[in-house]
Structures are given as C-alpha cells and as structure tokens.
C-alpha cells in the first residue's frame, strides 16, 4: 500500500511549486537568492513528484481525488486522477524537474544584464512544472485544457525571456500561435467527446459512456482533432515549424524542459485521449496507426536531415527533438496497428518502446540542451562554427555532452540505443506480421527510413561533438571559455549518469512500465520479460527484452579484460604538432561543421535547399581578386522563404480587403441598405 503516499506527495509538490513561484517573485530584489530558493523548491517538488510516481508504480492502485469543484454545472472542476499512465509520465516529469532545477539554480548567474527579469523566470519555471503536473493529473476536460494552455502560455513567456532580440519575439509569437491552433483542435476533440458523454466534462463519465461506435465519423473526427492538436505540440511534421524556432531562443533550462519534458505531454495526451478516453483499450481502426506511423517516419527522417545540416547548436537539438518525436510516433503507430491486427505481443513491445524512448529522450535531450546552455554561457555562442576545442576548456561538460551525443545518436551502451533497439524490433515485427504485400512494402520502407534516420542522427551528433569539443578553437572568445558552474555541472551530471545507467539497465527498469502496459492494453496481466517470436520462427530461439542486459554488461567487461595488457604500456611518449603537409595545423586547417556534412548534404540536396552567396571584391576587376567571402544558407524545404512569400501574398490580399472599410459613410450606408434588401429578398 505504498501508493497511498502518492497523493500527499503530489499535493506537497504542488504546494512547493506554488511556494517556489511566490518565493521567486518575493525575492525579486535579490535575483541570486530568488534563483537559488526558487529552483531549489522546484527541484524539491520534483523529487516529491518523482517519488509519488514511483510509489504508485510499485503498487498501482488507481486513485481519484477532487482538488476543488464548483456546484455550477459547467464551471471549472479540477478533479485529479492517478493511474498507471499518468504515473509513468509523472516519473518522467519528476526526474526532469530534479535535474533541470538543480541546473537552473546555477544557470542565471551569468545573465547579469537580465537580473530584473530573473525572478519572473523563476516563478514561470515553477508554474510551468505545476501546469505540466496538472495536465498529467487532470481528470476532466476543463482542468486539462486549462493546464494545457497554461503550460503553453507560461512556456511562451519564458521563451520570450530575451525579448530585446527580434528573433526571440518572432519565434515566441509563432510558438504561441501554433500551440493555440493546436489547442483549438483539442477543444474540438474534447467537445465531441464530451457531447457523446451527455455533455459531461468528467473523464470518468467519458470513460463510462463509451458509446461512440467504432469506425464512425465522430470517432475519426475526434482522432484527427487529437492527432493535429497533440501533433502540433509534439512538433510532428508538418506542424513542426515552431519547434526549431522556439526551443533555441529560450534560456537553457527552459529549452531543456520544453524539449525534454513538455513534448512528452503530447504523447501523454495522445495516450490519454485516444487510447484511454476514446477507445477505452479497444482496437483502433487500422488507418489510425498507419497515419501516425507515416507522419512519424517523415518527421524522424526529415528532422534528422535538418539537424544534420544545421550549424546552430540549439536549433540542431530542436530538429533532433522533431526526429525523436517522430520515432515516438512510429512506436505509437506500430502499437496501434498491432492492436488493430490483434497482435498482443507486438502491441506490448511497441508500447514498451514508446514509453522507454519517451523516458530516454527526455533524459538525453534535456542533458544536451543543458549542456548547450552551459556552452552558450562559456563561449557566448551557439554557432558550431565558432566553437572547437572545448574539451580542453570544459572537461566535465565535455564528458557529459559526449554521453549525451552518443545517447542521442543511438550508440550503445547509452540509453538512446536501448529504446531505438526496441523500436527497430517492433518495426521488424511489423514486417514479419504483415500479411499483405502492401503492408510488407510499407513496413520495409519505414524500416529503411528509420535506419537512415538513425545513421543521419549519428552523423549529426558526431558533428556536434566533433566540431564543438574537439580540435582547436575557431574563435578567440571560444578559447576563453571556462568550465560551467558547479550547480550546472551537477544538474547535467544527474542526467548523464542516468543516460549511462539506463543504457545498460534499460531492461531492469521495465517493471516500471508493466503496469502502464497493462493499463494501455486493457490486459489483465502482462508477461514481462516480453517473449517475442515471429509466427514462422524457430521455437527454440526466442528473444527477450532482457537479453540486452547481459550483452551490454558483458561488452565493457570484455573490452576491459581483453585490452588490459595493451593498456598498461599505452601512453604516447611524445606529443608533436599535427601533420598538415608542412604548414602549421591550426583552426584554419580543420574541418568545419559545414564541411563535415557537405557531402551528405549534397546527397540529400532534394530536401535541403542551398543558397550560396559569394561576395567578391576586386583589386583590378575582373582579374585580381582582393577578397572573397563565401556564405552558404541552408534551409529546410517548406521553410522561411515559402512562409515569407505566403505572408506577403496574404498581406496583399488583406490590404485589398481593407478597401471595404474605406471611410466613406455612403459606402457604409450602402452596406446597410444592401443587407436589408438582401434579407427582404431572401426571406420571401
């Protein structure tokens, strides 16, 4: 009965967030203290949240409570509900909050010029986590939507932290609009759901009603609305455009929490609304899964490609988030398809992949964004082309970023690999189970696209680490970088440690997921470790999810044991300059981020448009060149230029429409007369 402690813990956490918010504002005159106490309270609250989730998952007894309610039928009623699905995401939330809170406590010390605004950021941060907690716990439509939009608004305000910059203002605005459009779709979905439950706003009533006929238009409409709504938040293509703008411009801890945690709220929302409320554990129509998986694959592949060619560190990470959300959607789609084809084992495998990758992505992406924030502080840039050699100036950060990059690239033995491995398994399972040719071809294409994605993501993150940390610094200011503060390092270290531990121990934490799987599939019991064998397969070779564990443990042991004799004498006796054909090797000779991916970029030239700007000044035109500047602009297709053109066109049309109100009172009278005459004729 340890789960009885969950609600008190959560209540305490909520109060703690509120106090943190208040403390941030009250201590406004002393930003440093506001920072320390505000974020400290956030971390503390997150710890409680984490514990609450874990305790619940140890002993999953669904609980419902009412925070407050009005006796007015359509008013706000904030009832909360804790079940396995929410508990899992609560664990994720708590985990993120602990590390990011610790990190953020040290982050703002470098933002001297913004000291007036820091208290607001502290307050916003606490509110943000409270809103996300509310989203997960909400048990009625009103509460959910309020927290959802509150989450969006607060994050918008935090994104606008450095609002002197035009780029920040623009990005923030685009984020705000996009997320609100998404919310509008969610409102549609919820309104339809509620209307089917007799106008009740309670999730319980919706769950109990379950009178939406399978395959009906209403059901499809709800699904599409939810998909668009949550897909926008998740940054799934083609609703992704806000993400690479908003995440990079925010302060480090904000982008870490947005990319790491907030995007997962979309996954939670999809699971809650589609799997739980809409389907109630029943099998979805086949095309839902197919739609999701196609969107996911496209996002994963394109996200990885855009990340590959990006040279701004934070934008690159944002594109990588799109890629990872795509992978999550692939897992979700696979689970849905497996559900509709009645393949329980595959369903469980795919959901397993989904949940594990959610956790893993939130860990390594937060880690990377926090690291990027640290670099931004130290080197005063997020442009990879200006960095280099940071491994010497920021030794600790570089180790953690190394882990983060490898985890993000899906390289063993870090956690990204563990969940991508499950993802590949489930897609391969999909191929194996496809009965018709179309399904097989489709699944195969998806598999190859995902393999390509993984490889491209690897290249992208090698670029990050190789260019930012290795070789020698490319700019003077980079060489003056110093190690990040202790608090920041601690925050990053928590996640780096988790990324390493979960890489090897992913199988071992699957027990956390098993109640969630039970809830998602409506199964009475879920057999873990999952035994998965293809129908045509050999009965004696079975594969289980745990199998990676001994392998992963074995590998480093083997490596160390076998290479120990070699290691003993291994130390370079001499350090000499790098050979560079006789000239002195310097930052001029090393590869740049642009050059590193140039050849790959040309392979995918169809998707990534390239603009070359060559600016030449002559001493004696056109023979003797004095200076030549080369600049390359790369933008993902469907990007800025297209949007700009669209904006111009729309503006032109609108300006034409404005003539309607041209100031002539006679024209206005004409409208009245015309309206009247039209009505008189119409009503005949």
């Amino acid at each position: 009965m340890v789960s009885m402690w969950s609600f008190p813990l959560l209540g305490g956490a909520g109060a703690c967030y509120l106090i943190g918010c208040a403390v941030g504002l009250i201590l406004g005159r002393w930003p440093l203290w506001a920072n320390r106490f505000g974020y400290g309270l956030a971390s503390l609250a997150s710890l409680a949240v984490f514990l609450a989730g874990v305790l619940f998952l140890i002993d999953p007894q669904p609980q419902t409570g009412i925070l407050f309610t009005t006796n007015f039928q359509w008013g706000l009623q904030m009832s909360i509900h804790l079940d396995a699905i929410s508990a899992f995401f609560i664990v994720l939330l708590g985990l993120g909050g602990i590390a990011i809170g610790v990190y953020a406590g040290g982050y703002m010390r470098h933002f001297k010029q913004y000291s007036k605004r820091i208290p607001f950021l502290v307050a916003g941060f606490n509110l943000f986590w409270l809103a996300m907690l509310g989203v997960i716990l909400a048990n009625n439509i009103f509460g959910f939507l309020l927290c959802w939009e509150g989450m969006s608004l607060v994050s918008y305000l935090m994104v606008s932290f450095e609002h002197e910059k035009l780029e920040v203002r623009k990005s923030g605005f685009i984020y705000l609009i996009t997320t609100h459009v998404g919310t509008a779709f969610l409102m549609g979905a919820f309104a339809l759901l509620s209307a089917n439950a007799g106008g009740s706003f309670s999730f319980d009533a919706i769950r109990a009603a379950q009178n939406i006929p399978a395959g009906s238009m209403i059901q499809s409409a709800i699904f599409i609305c939810a998909l668009i709504g949550f897909g926008t938040k998740a940054g799934i293509m083609p609703m992704h455009f806000w993400l690479p703008r908003a995440h990079p411009v925010a302060p480090g801890q904000v982008s870490a929490s947005m990319s790491g945690i907030m995007l997962k709220m979309a996954i939670y929302g999809l699971l809650r609304v589609v799997s739980d409320l809409l389907l109630g554990g029943a099998a979805p129509p086949l095309w839902w899964g197919i739609t999701i998986i196609v969107l996911g694959t496209a996002s994963a592949l394109l996200g990885a490609l855009f990340a590959l060619v990006e040279t701004d560190l934070k934008r690159l990470l944002a594109f990588s988030s799109i890629e990872n959300m795509g992978i999550l959607f692939v897992c979700l789609g696979t689970a849905f398809i497996a559900q509709s084809l009645a393949l329980p084992a595959l369903t469980i495998l795919a959901f397993c992949a989904l949940l594990l990758h959610s956790l893993n992505h939130s860990i390594f992406k937060s880690l990377l964004f926090m690291g990027a924030g640290a670099i931004q502080h130290a080197a005063h840039t997020t442009n990879l082309e200006d960095m280099g050699g940071l491994i010497r100036y920021m030794p600790q950060t570089s180790v953690f970023m190394f882990i983060g990059c490898l985890a993000s690239a899906g390289i063993p033995p870090f956690n990204g690999f563990a969940s991508e491995w499950l993802m590949f398994q489930s897609v391969i399972g999909l191929i194996g189970h496809s009965q018709d040719l179309g399904g097989k071809i489709g699944a195969t294409i998806i598999l190859s696209a995902l393999a390509l994605t993984a490889a491209i993501a690897t290249a992208a993150f090698l670029k990050v680490f190789g260019v930012a940390f290795l070789a020698s610094p490319r700019k003077e200011k980079t060489a003056q970088a110093t190690e990040a503060g202790r608090a920041m390092i601690r925050g990053i270290a928590i996640f780096a440690g988790l990324a390493a531990v979960l890489g090897i121990g992913s199988g071992a934490i699957l027990w956390i997921i098993s109640p969630v799987l039970k809830a998602l599939t409506n199964a009475q019991s879920v057999a873990l470790p999952v035994v998965w064998a293809l129908p045509t397969g050999l009965s004696n070779t079975t594969l289980n999810v745990f199998s990676y564990v001994p392998v992963a443990i074995l590998a480093p042991i083997l490596i160390i044991l076998l290479s120990w004799p070699l290691l003993r004498q291994y130390k370079p006796i001499r350090r000499v300059a790098t050979w560079a054909c006789g000239v002195k090797a310097s930052s001029n000779t090393e590869y740049t981020a642009l050059a590193f991916v140039k050849s790959l970029q040309q392979v995918f030239a169809g998707v990534i448009h390239e603009q070359q700007l060559i600016d030449t000044t002559y001493t004696l035109e056109p023979f003797v060149i004095k200076e030549q500047h080369y600049q390359q602009k790369r933008e993902p297709f469907l990007s800025n230029s297209l949007m700009l053109r669209m904006k111009l066109e729309i503006t032109k049309i609108l300006d034409r429409v404005l003539f309607v109100q041209n100031g002539s009172v006679r024209l206005y009278l004409g409208y009245i007369l015309l309206t009247l005459v039209a009505l008189l004729i119409f009503s005949r």
């Binding site: 939009e149 609009i177 209307a195 106008g199 404005l658």
Partner: protein, 551 residues
C-alpha cells in the same frame, strides 16, 4: 407591485450629470468635478445591484410601474451596465485628471464628459427596464443621441468625422428598428386590437402565437438590421471602429462594454417573440449567419490594424458576433453561453480599453507600430495589457474562454459540427491576429515612456494611504500645459518623451494618478483571471436565470 426605490436611485447618474454640468461652469477644480461626476453613476450602479437582487429573489418577471418591467434578462443587462459603469467611472478619474493636467481636456469638456456619460448610463438602465418595445426604441435612440457628443468631445477633425458617421449610421439603423417596431405593432393591433399595452413585451409574448407570421418576420428583419447596426454586427458595424477609437478611452470602454449589449438586448427581445410566431428556424439562421460573418469579417482588419483602439473596436464586433452565434445555436447551453459571454466580454473589453488608455496615455500615441518595450518601461501596465488581451482572445485561464468554450459545446450538442469547426478555426485565427498586434507592444527594447514608472505610482499610493495629509485634491495646482501639448503633436513620440519629460514635482502627481489607475485595473484583471478559474454561485445563478428567459 411596489414601486422600488432603487428604480429612482438609478436616476442618480442623471442627477450627478446635471450637477457636474452646472459645477463645471463655476468651478475650476477638476478633481472635484471628476469625483462628483463619477459618484452618481456609482450610486446608480449600487442601486442597480439592489434591483437585480430584488428581481432575482422575487423570481420571474414583474412589472414595477406602468412603464417599467424587468425579468432576469433585464437583470443580466442591468448587472453588465452596473459592472462596466463602476469600472469605467472609477478609472475615468485618474484618466481625466491626467488628460486635464496635460492640457488635452478643458474644464468644460470634463463637465460635458460627465454630463453626457451620466445621461448615457441612465438611458441604458432604462432601456433594459421598460416594458414597452416602443419605449425601448425611444431609449435606445436616446442612448445614441447622448453618446454622440461624447464621441465628438475632443473636437478634433477625426472625432468630428467619427461623430458624423456614428450619428448618420446609427440614426438610419435606428429608423429601421423603428419601422420594425411599427410593423410589429401593426401586426399586434390588427390581431389583438388596440390598447395601451399592445407593445408591451409580456403582452406580445403571451399572444405571440396569434401574431401574423409574415409581419413578424418583416419586423424581425428590420429590427435585426436596425439594432444590429447599433450592436455592431458586420457588415453594419462600420461606424463602430471610428466612434470607439475617437471617444475618450473611458467612454470607449462604456460604449464597447455596455452600449453594444443594450442594443443587442433589443434584438433579443424580438427574437424571443419571433421564435414563437415564425418558428425558431428562421431567426436562428439569421443570427448564425450574422454571427459567423461578424467573426470572420474582422479578421483582415485586426491583422492589418494600425490603431490600438480600433483594434479593440473590431474585437467588439467579433464578440457581438459570438453572442449572436451562441443565441442562434440555441439550446440550454447555447443560451447560457450567450448570457455568459455578454458578461465576460463586457468585463474583459472594458478592462482592456482602460488598460489601453494607460498605454496610450504613457506613450501618447495610438499607433501600434510606435509602441514597443512596454514590459520594460511599464511592467505592470504591460502585464495587465497582456492579461486582458489573453482574455479578449479567449485563452484558457481567462473568463472569455469559458463562454467561448461553452459556445463550442453548444454547437456540438446541437450537432452543428461544421459551424463548430468554422468557429474554432476563426477563433484560432483571431487569436493569432490579435496577439500579433499586442505582443510587439509588450516586448522589445525601446521604452518610449513618458512620465513615472508603474512602481513609483504604486509607491505613491502607499505613501498617500500612509500619510493622509497629502490629499488628492492638491493636484489642482498643476498648471495647464497647453503649450506643451501643441508642441507635442508635431513631434514623434520618442522625441516627445525626451523633450517634455515632466519635472520631478509633477512627476509625483502623475505617479499618484498612474498608481490610482493601476490600482483600479489590477483588481479588474484579477477578476478576469478568477472568473476564468471559478464562477461563484451567485454569479452563475444570475446568468443562469437570464439564460432561462432566453431558453
């Protein structure tokens, strides 16, 4: 039925109006005039609240006197007018004083402002309290006539233009409404015979099924177009952005928050009759079409808007459209949503106008493009601006969201999925369009401010409360700065701010006025937020009774 005293008390507004007019002829003390002018409407609002309590506790409909009648719907409108008038009148004090000290308003103009606005409030109260539809028409026309001078108060060319358009279009519109009323009367007379109560609302409602459907249909069209012009339904709204942008800011708040609802009240009354006589189908379709058109029509104007107050005026058109739409959709939920939206919009829009007044006053421009960096220069005002903007666009923690959301729910319940889809889409576009105008003013790094900061205002208020020897009335000593004003009209705002930055002594007085304004606006914005999170029992009872009438 006993003649309630509170009905007489509603005349307090008119009495104080005449008082201010007289005083402004003799006194030069602007503060005094302001307080007298604001006191009357506030007393009237208090008695309106008493009246509402009486109406609601006695339940249903009742007649006070030969011409007076009220039911829950009137109570709703009474409440809205009272609410808006209290906010506006309180806010008008610092606003008007500041304008006066900066030389934008003269003493006689202040007198006129309070005179006409007191009369406007009184006519509005009586609009919703009269039993005869004919008398109602008279009062609605009267609201036009007394609000026209308010629009033209500043006497500039632009305000004269706005006044002319307002007068012209409202008069034409109102004539149509009169024709509609006459047609209704003709129908009633020929069917039910003549009597002094033939145009009485209860009488008509009782015999609505006996009326001639053809004539009632005709009457409804004329009344919809007529009062619709006054209520600002597109495409009849064209006077509205002009008038609302040219009037002094508190008056804009009054016009947008209360007057539009009063005009809409006229449509509602006839809608209730027409629904019985010609069936619910036809009037509902008309309202839905007008509603959707109003919401959609304003989009380009909001996207390409250059003037802050016009922006809000267009937003009012949109919100009147939402009310019309909700009523057209109908059903228990739809009517509730409409009633709630009247309240939420009135509160949000009047607050927003007042906040805008703060913004305009500190930047001395209404041009959106020229305002930036408010969050640095005036953090509290910018926060209030952002909160009220969120309320206006219906973002979730705010009160307008609830009514818009209930409207969507009503559509879904009535299975109007297409309309719900269009509505949600339009709302999302409007959200973007509106915030695209507001956010650039809030953010940025260019403080174009004039005068003291918000915080010093708050501190000044604290000083005053702590030290009663610094009365507000001291401010009459500040010299009229007309020459500064003439100078400023020719200079760009940022430069302006630099040139005529007030002296420290004056700064203190302005700080007190700014602080007072903020002190009024902070509770208002908090109310927007709180009403979004939690609607108290008495409020929901009030709105629900009104929606029962509509149902």
């Amino acid at each position: 039925m006993a003649f309630p005293l509170s009905l007489l008390m509603l005349l307090a507004g008119a009495i104080s109006a005449f008082l201010t007019l007289i005083i402004s002829r003799f006194s030069r003390n602007a503060t005094f005039i302001c307080f007298i002018g604001a006191a009357g409407p506030i007393i009237a609002a208090q008695s309106a609240v008493t009246l509402i309590a009486q109406i609601l506790t006695q339940g249903g409909q009742f007649t006070f006197a030969p011409f007076f009648f009220a039911d829950a719907l009137s109570a709703l409108l009474l409440g809205i007018i009272a609410m808006v008038s209290v906010l506006v009148m309180l806010y008008s004090i610092p606003y008007v004083l500041r304008e006066f000290h900066q030389g934008h308003l003269s003493i006689s103009q202040i007198g006129l402002l309070y005179f006409w606005s007191g009369l406007l409030l009184t006519t509005m109260y009586f609009t919703v309290l009269c039993s005869s539809l004919g008398v109602m028409w008279v009062f609605i026309e009267a609201t036009t006539l007394v609000s026209v001078p308010l629009v033209g108060l500043t006497g500039s060319k632009a305000s004269l233009e706005a006044t002319w358009k307002y007068l012209m279009l409202a008069t034409v519109g109102i004539s149509f409404a009169l024709l509609g009323t006459l047609i209704l009367y003709a129908s009633a007379v020929s069917q039910l015979g003549e009597g002094s109560n033939t145009l009485d609302w209860i009488f008509l409602l009782k015999h609505a099924s006996d009326l001639n459907p053809g004539l009632v249909k005709l009457a409804f069209i004329f009344i919809l177009v007529g009062y619709g012009t006054k209520a600002g339904l597109a495409p009849l709204h064209t006077w509205l952005p002009d008038a609302h942008s040219q009037a002094p800011t508190p008056i804009s708040a009054l016009l947008s928050g209360a007057l539009l609802n009063c005009a809409f009240y006229g449509i509602l009354r006839l809608f209730l009759i027409a629904r019985i006589t010609i069936g619910v189908e036809y009037p509902s379709i008309l309202l839905i079409v007008f509603g959707l058109f109003s919401i959609g029509f304003v989009i380009p104007f909001i996207i390409r808007q250059y003037d802050l107050k016009r922006l809000l005026a267009y937003s009012s058109v949109e919100h009147m459209g939402i009310i019309a739409l909700a009523i057209g959709i109908g059903g228990k939920l739809g009517m509730y949503a409409a009633a709630l939206h009247m309240v939420t919009h009135a509160l949000a829009k009047s607050t927003m106008f007042c906040v805008t007044g703060e913004v305009v006053d500190r930047t001395r421009t209404r041009k959106i493009a020229r305002i930036a960096g408010l969050s640095q220069a005036a953090p509290i005002v910018s926060t209030l601006l952002f909160i009220s903007a969120l309320a206006i666009v219906g973002a979730p923690p705010m009160n307008v969201f609830i009514s818009e959301w209930l409207t969507v729910m009503a559509m879904i319940v009535q299975q109007q999925y297409v309309i719900a889809g269009i509505f949600l889409m339009l709302l999302a576009i409007l959200f973007g369009a509106m915030l695209a105008r507001i956010t650039p003013m809030v953010w940025g790094n260019q403080p174009p401010m004039l005068g003291p900061s918000d915080l010093s205002g708050i501190y000044s208020i604290v000083t005053i409360t702590a030290d009663p020897t610094t009365p507000m009335l001291q401010m009459q000593d500040i010299p009229n700065t007309n020459n500064m004003n003439t100078l400023s009209t020719h200079i760009d705002p940022p430069i302006h701010a630099a040139i005529i930055a007030p002296t420290s002594e004056k700064t203190h007085h302005f700080a007190i006025l700014n602080g007072m304004a903020i002190g009024i606006l902070i509770p208002a914005c908090t109310a927007l937020l709180l009403l979004g999170l939690w609607i108290p029992q008495w409020l929901s009872f009030w709105i629900q009774s009104a929606s029962e009438v509509l149902k």
